[in-house]
């Protein structure tokens, strides 16, 4: 012990540089959040960014369970929804003057609501891990779905409950009537919550959450109860989900039972997994991409959920490390300054994959058209063209695109893969050091 105190930690300089880089990233994120509405300032863009901010907090809280703690939950929206309902009711009370509670602190109320129910449901569901935990989470979600019909006064039945953020008292004279003002509120809470969740992962219990995920038995033999570690993570996840729910209440001024239903729980699982559960940025990327696709696709097609489902399947099958994981894979090539060599092969394979995707989308949309028969028309607008799904030609054309694209991808993918392998090889000097240090 005493020898270690006088000796500097191995790689202290590297650790110092890494810490400086981390601080830089957080500052950049804060600046980015502040500047963003000046850059993209249309009403739609602000509305989508608000939605993204809420989704990011929710997805990050979900990854405290799935990625950090190894708990697969099918009912995380319960804490989002309950936090939202509680925040909405409190906002209504505040608007009537029954209590003094300005809008900016409302997400915290949502968080406390989420926390309270996480303690309640977590007290028994975290006693088990794995499949049993997943089943209990599903059961709790069903329980809440049933409760939403029974406790009509609280959940507002099918219409849900509405609220009005402009009636609450002001804090420091800041109004929250327009979307843009709400954006800054969401940005603030997003930043605070993300920072807190990141910090949590670096606390003793946050690290033990990883340990219990990896090996619950061994965690018990170093002094930690696996149940207690899971419970603490679960409560923290419920708290931050509740904050996201509170933000939702402020932003949309309405909550329905759907917000805590299985679909909402499924959505947060999808976005977190697509982004990547192995890193902190994964859920952020996933929530942004998912929300973007959701709002964009739903404008163009009634089948947007199907496409998100396909994206999820493709992630699980081909890149289980998620989008963030794919980016991380390219870190060695980036450090070796060889990322440029990948552009050509990637563009070629990517273009061919796009051709196949256009073909698949074309076929799916035509099936959808024929099956649902939108309107009485015989043509459908697809990819900026008028297409007649009841004739043979477009079917053949799209099928040809699928075949050409798929064959092209098969033919070029090995080249892209070998280009990746080439670019990722460490420089000769680094390689020598790496093999040298491995010797015991």
């Amino acid at each position: 012990m005493s020898t270690a105190t006088t000796r500097p930690f191995a790689g202290a300089g590297v650790a110092h540089a890494a810490r400086a880089r981390r601080y830089g990233l957080w500052v950049a994120a804060a600046v980015g959040l502040l500047v963003l509405p000046q850059v993209v300032h249309t009403g739609t863009a602000i509305a989508i960014m608000n939605q993204m901010g809420i989704a990011v907090v929710f997805a990050l809280s979900y990854n405290m369970l799935l990625g950090q703690g190894g708990m697969l939950s099918f009912g995380h929206a319960v804490y989002f929804g309950l936090g939202g309902f509680i925040a909405a009711h409190v906002l209504n009370l505040s608007g009537r003057g029954a209590i003094y509670l300005p809008v900016p602190v409302l997400p915290l109320i949502g968080g406390l609501g989420g926390l309270a129910f996480a303690i309640l449901f977590g007290s028994f569901s975290t006693r088990r891990a794995g499949t049993v935990f997943a089943m209990i989470s599903l059961g709790v979600a069903e329980l809440m779905a049933a409760s939403s019909l029974i406790f009509d006064r609280f959940f507002g039945g099918e219409e849900g409950i509405t609220t009005n953020r402009s009636k609450a008292p002001l804090l420091l004279g800041l109004p929250f009537t327009r979307d843009r003002e709400v954006y800054y509120l969401i940005a603030f809470w997003l930043f605070v919550a993300a920072l807190a969740m990141y910090a949590f992962s670096r606390t003793p219990v946050g690290r033990m959450a990883n340990a219990v995920r990896d090996n619950p038995e061994r965690a018990e033999f170093v002094g930690y109860s696996q149940n207690r570690v899971r419970l603490v993570s679960f409560c923290a996840a419920g708290f931050f989900a509740g904050i996201a729910g509170g933000l939702f209440a402020v932003n949309y001024e309405i909550l329905t039972a759907e917000n805590m239903g299985l679909t909402a729980s499924g959505a947060v699982l999808l976005m977190t997994y697509i982004g990547g559960i192995g890193s902190f940025v994964g859920p952020i990327i996933g929530a942004v991409v998912f929300t973007f696709l959701q709002s964009m696709l739903s404008d163009y097609t009634g089948m947007w959920l199907l496409y998100l489902g396909i994206l999820f399947l493709a992630t699980v099958l081909f890149v289980p490390m998620g989008l963030a994981g794919v980016l991380m894979l390219h870190a060695p090539a980036w450090r070796a300054r060889r990322i440029g060599r990948l552009v050509g092969p990637y563009l070629l394979t990517g273009a061919l994959a796009l051709v196949a995707a256009v073909g698949i989308i074309g076929l799916l949309e035509m099936i959808h058209f024929v099956a649902v028969s939108e309107g009485a028309g015989t043509t459908k607008r697809l990819f900026w063209m008028a297409i007649a799904p009841r004739t043979l030609t477009p079917w053949l054309a799209f099928a040809a695109l699928v075949v050409v694209g798929a064959l092209g991808v098969r033919w070029t993918a090995p080249r892209a893969a070998s280009a990746f392998a080439q670019a990722s090889r460490p420089p000769v000097a680094v390689r020598a050091a790496a093999t040298g240090e491995a010797g015991l």
């Binding site: 270690a4 003793p204 090996n215 038995e217 033999f221 002094g223 570690v229």
Partner: protein, 253 residues
């Protein structure tokens, strides 16, 4: 030096279904001694380890650690009394780095409990402890490597590191040299000797040269019963041990 035994077993019995595995073991391990547990395969050595450390519940009998009755305690409660163990099959945190493995093992002993208001990076005692153990294990160069990709011998070393990092003074090692080469075994034994100085060690080991070299006392377990518990010299001369455990009287190391 306290007079209480580090570990005390009183008429411990364990059956799986109707099959008795441990058939009435009474054993006193004095604090500050290095003890070896030997016996043929299937004698119940690992089961005895699992009973002492709380992984299994005894069928009848009592177990005390440093005078405290631990018979009905959970593994983590027993660990908090200052008893740590390693496993015969490597049991580490595979996706975490080597350093994180050791740091997590040192957390409870340093008093951090379930804290979410401390940062591990500034937990000085924990980081220093992890660094020290890392160095003792000769794994400093592998600090940031995920434990799952370590070589077998490195994982075995880390297994011991996790066991000792928490600062326990009663240490149980289950076949720490299993599957190791001669030189790796020597290194691990030197490490065990170093890190268990002044502590109580109970070790399951098949390598007789290691056992007779390291142990102050040896317990011989045969079919769930301790047939002898004595100094290496007397164990070597014990006819019952030679017959029951080693088969032919002349083959004791």
């Amino acid at each position: 030096m306290s007079t209480t035994a580090a570990i005390e077993l009183v008429e411990v019995r364990k059956s799986f279904g109707s099959t008795p595995i441990i058939r009435g073991v009474s054993l006193v391990l004095e604090a500050g001694t290095r003890q070896a547990l030997i016996g043929p395969n299937g004698a119940g050595k690992s089961t005895l380890f699992n009973l002492i450390t709380g992984k299994y519940r005894v069928t009848t009998g009592r177990i005390r650690v440093k005078g405290e009755d631990v018979t009905d305690l959970t593994p983590y409660e027993i660990n908090r009394l200052g008893l740590a163990r390693s496993f015969q099959v490597t049991n580490i945190f595979t996706r975490m780095t080597v350093f994180e493995n050791l740091r997590c093992a040192a957390l409870w002993g340093a008093g951090y409990r379930y804290s979410f208001w401390h940062r591990v990076s500034t937990a000085r005692a924990v980081n220093e402890r992890a660094e020290t153990v890392l160095e003792q294990l000769n794994l400093t160069a592998r600090r940031e490597v995920p434990a799952g990709v370590l070589s077998y011998a490195e994982q075995r070393a880390l297994e011991i590191g996790i066991t000792i990092a928490g600062g326990a003074d009663v240490i149980l090692l289950d076949e720490p040299t299993a599957g190791m080469s001669r030189s790796e075994t020597e290194h691990v034994i030197a490490l065990i000797r170093q890190v268990t100085a002044g502590k109580t060690l109970l070790m399951v080991e098949h390598d007789m040269s290691v056992v007779f070299d390291l142990a102050d006392r040896i317990a011989v377990l045969v079919y769930g019963e301790v047939i002898a518990h004595d100094t290496p010299e007397r164990i070597r001369a014990n006819a019952a041990v030679q017959e029951a455990y080693l088969g032919t009287p002349q083959s004791v190391a």
